[in-house]
Structures are given as C-alpha cells and as structure tokens.
C-alpha cells in the first residue's frame, strides 16, 4: 500500500487538481454528523445489519461486494472479482462519484464534491474497521481523486471517426449491440463517465489488467474520441 500511496502522490502532482490533506484524515465528529446522509441506507457500529445498503463495519481493507447475504449490483460484484479493495483512496473516489468508479452501482447517491467532507466521513467510518487499509498512522495521507480531471481534459471534443477506428479494438470483447454477458456493455455512456472511467483504468485505480493495459496506451484525445464514438452507438 505504501507504493500505491507514493504513486498516487506522483499522480496528484501531475494532475494538480487533487486535494491533499494533513496528518489527520478528517474530523471524526463532523463525520458522524455527515453520516446522516448515509444512514438511510447504511448502518455502522455495534449490531449494524445490512439494510438497503450493506453494513459498513470493517469496510477498510474489505474487497468490494464481499459481504455474504447482501445482494450487490453486477457492477459491484464485478469490481470485487476484479480485485477492488476498499481503502482510503478507493472509498474516497467512490463517494466522490459512485458511478464513475463502479459502473452500474445501485448506490443512489450523486457524490460528495467537498474533499474535506469526504475526509470527515471516512475518518468516522474508519473507527469501525479493525485493520484500516492504506492509512499510515502518522504520515499525511494523500487523497488524489481519480475522478477530478482537469477541465481541459474533460473539454476535449472527441474525433468520432478516429474513435470508430480505436473502438474496433474494443469490439473484440465488448459487443456492438450492448450485450453484457461476462463483459460489460460500453455503448451509450455519457461522455464524462466514459472519460473518467478510462482515466481511472489508465491510472490503475480501477482494477482490471486488460483494461489497465488498454487504457494505459490511450492519450487524452484518444479517450475523448472513444467516448464520443460510443456515446451514440445504437
């Protein structure tokens, strides 16, 4: 995890848009208040049970989609199978923009823009995990957000014809007609979600070796081109 934190730090520098925090993760008390936004669906603490959402005891260090007896969305199951572990970085990315990290999640929450608020609520949740992952006790923890792309990256107008050529490489696995057996559908995604997801793979925050490799060789323009092409595919 130490390495992951380091490389995240490097990314944070490159992308310069990330919030960096101080020694403490956040304010536990404020986090307890903010948890009110979550508690309609999630329980945490002694006797917490699964409700609309899974309980959050021991969330740090746990694999996504791994609580027995809770019925997860296909998207979360897939992420869990791919190796997504909840730690400070991934949880932060998830609550900032749930659908960007886990396509098709049922968590009906638009996301938390304010980095400090996210930090506070995660500090609160952390108290209910025995083995908090990715949280050095004393060092400051970087919390670069996978989803915060510089506006100019999101603003690139994709070249649809180029996207169509690049997309031929995707269609060996992802079906043109949007079928999603075994491999998810990537047609008709909103452009921003597509772009953010591809950058998350490129930076190896989303776990999947094929996708990390494929996204890894795409430039910002190429990702925009693909997003522009797949957006309108029937």
């Amino acid at each position: 995890m130490r390495n992951a934190t380091r490389s995240s730090l490097a990314l944070a520098v490159i992308f310069a848009a990330s919030a960096l925090c101080a020694d403490e993760i956040g304010d536990v008390e404020n986090g307890a208040d903010l948890f009110g936004y979550c508690s309609g669906c999630h329980e945490v603490g002694a006797d917490a049970e699964n409700g609309i959402g899974p309980h959050l005891n021991g969330i740090f260090g746990r694999a996504a989609g791994s609580i027995d007896g809770y019925f997860y969305s296909d998207g979360l199951n897939r992420m869990g199978a791919d190796g997504l572990i909840w730690d400070l970085t991934t949880l932060d990315a998830y609550i900032e923009n749930p659908r960007a990290l886990v396509s098709g999640t049922r968590m009906s929450f638009d996301g938390w823009e304010d980095a400090q608020e996210r930090a506070d609520v995660l500090a609160y949740l952390r108290a209910y995990s025995d083995n908090p992952a990715n949280i050095p006790e004393a060092e400051p923890t970087a919390r670069p957000s996978e989803v915060e792309l510089p506006p100019e990256v999101l603003a690139i107008q994709g070249d649809v014809a180029y996207g169509e050529y690049l997309a031929s490489d995707c269609k060996t696995c992802h079906q043109q007609d949007g079928s999603d057996e075994g491999i998810p559908s990537i047609t008709r995604w909103p452009v921003d979600d597509f772009v953010v997801a591809m950058h998350a793979y490129k930076r190896k925050l989303r776990p999947h070796p094929v996708m990390q490799m494929q996204a890894g060789r795409l430039s910002d323009e190429e990702i925009a081109a693909l997003a522009a092409y797949f957006k309108d595919l029937d």
Partner: protein
Amino acid sequence: MTFNRRTFIGTAAVGTAALSAPLLATAQGKPRVVVVGGGAGGATAARYIAKDSEGAIDVTLIEPSRAYYTCFFSNLYIGGFQEMDDLGHGYGTLAADYGINVVHDWATGVDRDAKTVALAGGGSVPYDRLILSPGIDFIDGSVAGWDQSAQGVMPHAYKGGTQAELLKAQIMAMPEGGTFAMVAPPNPYRCPPGPYERISMVAHLLKEVNPTAKIIVADPKEKFSKMALFQEGWNDHYAGMIDWIGPDFGGADVEVRPGTMEVVIDGEATKVDAANVIPAMKAGLIVERAGLTEGNWAPVVPATMQSRMDENIHILGDASSQGDMPKSGYSANSQAKVAAMAVRGALTDARVFPAKFSNTCWSLIDTNDGVKVGATYEATEEKIAKVDGFISETGESDELRKATYEESLGWYAGITSDMFG
C-alpha cells in the same frame, strides 16, 4: 493530435505515403478486394472493409466451408463446456447484410502479375487488393511416423470442426485406466496455450468418465505459455494424472506408430488408447504457392500487414510473420482491422490512423478456473512490437478465476459477432 487527411488525386499524391499507389479504376468502376479464408482474420477483414466503405469497395470472400467452426473454444467442447453446434458460424449475414460476395471454393493459386486468384472449381477472380488469411498447414514428417493420412487415427484437432469431435470420441472410448498421449508442437504454432488448455480439458473429462486414466505429454519445448499457471492447476485439480515430458527427458525425441497405436518417446514405446499429434506448422499452403513465404511464414509490413514481397497483397493471422504477436484468433482479428483500414485508405479516400494491435488469450483449466494472458502492440519499421502486457497470477482467488472464465464467454460472443456480423 492531428491526422493528415489522405485525399488521393490520381496516383501521384501518395508517392510518399506508407501505402502503395492505389488502383482506383476497375472495369466496374469500383475497386475490388478479394479475401481468401473466412476465419478470424479473413472474415473480420471482409466485414470491416464492406461495412466501413459503405458500398464503395467490392468485396469477395473465398472460403470452402459453409460454416466456420472456431478452434477457439474447441478445447472447451472436449471438456464438455461447449456444444460443437455452438462453435459453428455461417456466412449468411456477411452476404446479406454487408453485401459481400461469398464464394464457397478453394483458392488454388495467385497470379500476381495479372492480379487474379484461381479457384478449384475453375475460373479466376480479379483483385485490386488481395487479403490472404488461410491459417496454418502442417509440416509432414515433423513428427516421425505421422503424416496427414494418419489424422483419422491420431488426430491433430488443430483445425476446427470434425477433428476435435474425432479426438473426443477416442477419449470417450478409452478403456478404464487407459492412456492418452499428446505430442506437443515446436514453436511457433497457433495458440501458444492451446495444447495445455487441451490437456486440462482432457483431464477434466477423464476425471469425470475415467478417473484412473493417465495422460502423457511429449513436448519439445522447455517452457510453454502460462506454464506456471497450468502446472499449478494440474497439481490442484488433476494430481497424479498428467505426466509432462520435456526435452530434458526425451520429449523432443518422438516417433508415432499409427498402425499399432504406439508412441515412442526417447526410444521407449508405449501403447496408448488415444493419441493427439500436433505437428509443426507453417503458413497455409496458398501463401507458399503465391510465392510470399520466407521459411515457413509470410513476412509482412507491420503498419499495414502488406506482404514484404507484394504490396498489393496483405497477409493476416497465423500465416504471417510479423514480430511479437502470438498466432491467435484475437491477434488475427486485430490485424484484420489494421489491414482493413490500410486497404480502404489505399483504394478510397478513407482516413488512415496509426496501427494499434492487441491480444488476450483466455484458457480454462477446470470448472470456473479461467486464466488469461495479453498484450498491446504497435507497428515499428521492423516488426509488430509489444508495448505492454499482463498475465494472470498463481494463487488468485476462486472468484477472480470464475470472473476470468465468464469474461472468456463474453469475449467469444464479442469476437464471433465482430467476425460474422
């Protein structure tokens, strides 16, 4: 990133381009592309050219079979995970929806000066660009005692369809506690993990129907694709069943005797009940006949998949020698898209982008135990060169292995609809 739009004004404008001069004018006024071989490379190329040129290019596909039975997943058929019927794909959609002229015949020769392809049924087909994707043929004599007349007794099951059915029937007919032998091929050959996925699937089948049976593999290679993953899997699922004999123990010194069903390894003859002989391979014969091979394979220009010996001919898939990509269906499909773009760029004013290639090969070791290996590639002057890659790890969780297997089902659906529409 910007791309120069290639607008061809006559032939002079392309003098500096990587692609050769286009032949725009034909008798019918439309440029003609002929594709030989309706497999992973050929069907994909025909479909992409027809689809993307929207009628501006006349596409003819020459393929003897009415249905293409994929080699991919034929091991899963042997293991009982797939039905043979589901591995067959017809050419009806390519003809009806994409306007491709599908000719069910063998190509018997290429006249490169006249630019025509001769057909076994008589007559010939003219082309402006020719695409050859005939897959592989076997090198007779590469396994002492075996030639193609022995394939009914000791099947290779390394081309699609009936050979795999024959091999499975022979395995099912083995006596209790009998012996299955495989002679594995030397490099390079199609589908590097294929023989070892097959061993896994044969072991899976035998474990169910004949659990005291034995499997012998004679292998001329010291190392093979996904070796650590297969060995781990064989230990976990089929302990004591598989005897892999590498070259250090005589695995390269093999003779087979189809008449008596014996396999001789390092001088020692063993009577076996089923034998799978996978000989050394070379490019499909038509490429050799066209005079486009160097050694056993056909060298190509990486950026376009054009033959190094004839710029009007593109050679795809297993038959080509291109550099770092393994010979796989995924690779052939990937190369076909690059070639399709190059052909459209040469014959029409279609835009041409930098070539990108990729490959992933999934293998099934046992029920819900899937693994994969993959890489991305780019075109350099000299070869198709690997950019980045990954491979499944030993000791992965059951969940991940199951997800990997399920992914392979999605891939199969994806690639076959990408080939046949």
